[in-house]
């Protein structure tokens, strides 16, 4: 009896030791993950002149909040933010609606060739984005769309195969009974889509909406390729051009970086679940 108890105790102790080791490793990993963010914040609050103190100081003689005032004066961050919103939000709303429509058709409507067409659409995802960079630029330039927001907005409004794929998975799991009842009541596919499918698909739409918003907000390559006039710069492009101009003014550059991260961090704080779900689902089910 006592030997069993001792054995159990031993195992528990061993288990606790493993847990402790796990904590130590996670702690080291966590510090490595957190330090760049903290260093960004710390640098952004350093007074001018204390930047190059060596050994590096985490906190200067005072918190230099004026760095934030200066970057709002020197860089057009607010204009950049609104430009980003103009580019991202309409594209997102229309694109998501279009994707949901297609996903509903692929999941529930019956028409010849449906599943083959779906595979064709999904198949187009194999074209790597980097390969599209030059061809798309040549086309948009011949359209006369360069130095405008159009190349950043219009393609997204036609939907994205990956989003359609994700939404179709979700809509397929909705019970057919509601739809059948609506059909008996004489509701046509658009009515069913708007009044039944959209409300039931809300969680998936929110997930995809958040992921697309964040991707659009962070997009740097698109604006870099297409925008030339500073007054059209999105926030990320504004920030990059500011930092290439003020290369060594690290306090200001870091303040800009902090400002640019705030919307993402706020979104993440409120919608962490959606971010992680979206990643896990598209990952596992693809």
């Amino acid at each position: 009896m006592s030997t069993i108890a001792a054995g159990l105790g031993k195992r528990k102790a061993a288990q606790r030791l493993v847990d402790l080791a796990a904590y130590v490793l996670l702690g080291i990993g966590g510090i490595i993950m957190a330090v760049p963010f903290l260093w960004m914040l710390a640098t952004s609050l350093k007074p001018d002149g204390e930047l190059y103190s060596y050994p590096p100081e985490w906190i200067g003689s005072r918190l230099a909040w004026e760095n934030y005032r200066i970057i709002f004066e020197e860089a057009h961050l607010i204009r950049g933010f609104f430009n980003t919103m103009i580019v991202v939000v309409p594209t997102l709303v229309i694109g998501l609606f279009v994707c949901a429509m297609a996903a509903y058709a692929f999941a529930k409507l019956r028409f010849p060739g449906r599943d083959k067409l779906f595979l064709v659409l999904i198949g187009t995802m194999v074209v790597p984005g980097a390969v599209m960079m030059i061809p798309a630029f040549i086309m948009f330039k011949t359209f006369g769309w360069t130095d405008s927001w159009k190349p950043l907005m219009i393609p997204g409004m036609f939907g994205a195969p990956i989003v359609i794929f994700f939404l179709r998975q979700f809509i397929k799991t909705l019970p057919d009974e509601l739809e059948d009842a609506a059909k008996i009541d004489g509701m046509s596919p658009p009515g069913i889509f708007l009044r039944i499918v959209i409300p039931l698909t809300k969680p998936a739409l929110i997930t995809q909406g958040i992921l697309s918003f964040n991707a659009g907000y962070n997009d740097y390559l698109g604006p870099l390729i297409y925008l030339n006039s500073p007054e059209r710069y999105t926030l990320q492009l504004e920030l990059a051009s500011f930092s290439s101009y003020y290369v060594t003014e690290w306090t200001l550059v870091m303040a800009g970086a902090v400002v640019a991260l705030i919307p993402t961090l706020v979104l993440f704080a409120f919608a962490q679940r959606f971010f992680i779900e979206g990643i896990a689902l598209t990952g596992i089910k693809a």
Binding site: M101, Q236, G256
Partner: protein
């Protein structure tokens, strides 16, 4: 008799009704899926085919394009050493993929222990993946700074005479790999966590009964059990790594001496700094073929080590 006729009429009207309904459903179906197909045709297929033609010309927006056959491809393969150098750099940078996967699996195994605070750590590891590449590149440029950087200070504290990282030809790419792992493991961790949760616990229990130790269980149960996810992460990360470039542009500008210019970065330079759109189109197709080949090879090879149950 009468009843039969009535029934017959009933089924016929029902059929007609059903076929009308079916036709309406069909029309709406095609209408609903039309926008993405139009989008793919206009914004993917057309430019892709157009650029295939452009790759056979010396197009540069300035003068009318002249057809020059395969000259661009010849130039890329035989006369332009930067193509091979940047391709080599790209594969070098892609070393970060397997390294990052190992780190991610390790972190996922730790997080799978259901410790208190695991959500906090999971969030912390995930955070960089949702942050702006511009902002992250800026802070890493500062951290890697040769004279005042945080990294070299702490390495100095533990007695390591650290290199100048981003401005050192030998160390710029390792620095980029480190930065890439830091910025990219979050997604892999989340996928691995989901995969670890899906390995049947009964397998582990059976192995325990058979006297297997933790390492044996890991090698014979966990690794095969999560192999589909490993494969998925490998493919998606590899595709991403082969196209990686904005963070290189922001952190090193491709230097020093092209040591961190990836193939896509080079493509970008040819197109937007030298305006050689014909040649850039050829490079884009060249890159596309390479990426496709790697994907196909991976799928072919995967049958040997990926276990679907």
């Amino acid at each position: 008799m009468e009843a039969e006729v009535a029934a017959d009429v009933k089924t016929r009207t029902a059929k007609r009704k059903r076929s009308a309904l079916f036709r309406s459903e069909m029309r709406w179906g095609y209408l609903f899926i039309a926008p993405p197909f139009i989008g793919v045709a206009v914004f993917t297929l057309y430019p892709l085919l157009n650029s295939l033609y452009m790759s056979l010309t010396n197009f540069n927006f300035g003068q009318p394009a002249a057809f020059i056959g395969l000259d661009n491809y010849k130039r890329a393969l035989a006369d332009d050493p930067l193509v091979w150098k940047t391709l080599w750099n790209t594969f070098y940078a892609a070393l970060g993929v397997p390294l990052g996967m190992i780190v991610a699996l390790g972190a996922a195994l730790l997080l799978d222990r259901k410790l208190r605070g695991r959500n906090f750590f999971r969030m912390l590891f995930f955070l960089p993946t949702i942050c702006s590449v511009v902002a992250l590149a800026m802070v890493w440029r500062w951290i890697f700074n040769a004279d005042y950087g945080l990294l070299n200070y702490y390495l100095g504290v533990i007695g390591i005479d650290a290199p100048a990282w981003l401005i050192d030809q030998t160390w710029a790419m390792p620095a980029m790999i480190i930065q890439g792992i830091w910025g990219g493991i979050g997604v892999s961790i989340i996928m691995y966590l989901a995969a670890l949760g899906n390995v049947p616990t009964s397998l582990y229990e059976a192995a325990t009964v058979d006297g297997a130790n933790a390492w044996q269980k890991f090698i014979h149960i966990t690794v095969p059990g999560i192999s589909p996810v490993t494969f998925f992460i490998l493919i998606t990360s590899l595709i991403g790594a082969l196209q990686d470039f904005p963070r290189f542009q922001l952190l090193t500008g491709g230097g020093p001496n092209y040591s961190t210019t990836t193939i896509v970065y080079y493509l970008y330079t040819v197109a937007f700094q030298y305006s050689e759109m014909g040649y850039a189109s050829a490079l884009a197709w060249f890159l596309g073929v390479i990426i496709m080949t790697i994907i196909v090879l991976n799928f072919a090879f995967s049958k040997r080590w990926v276990h679907y149950n």
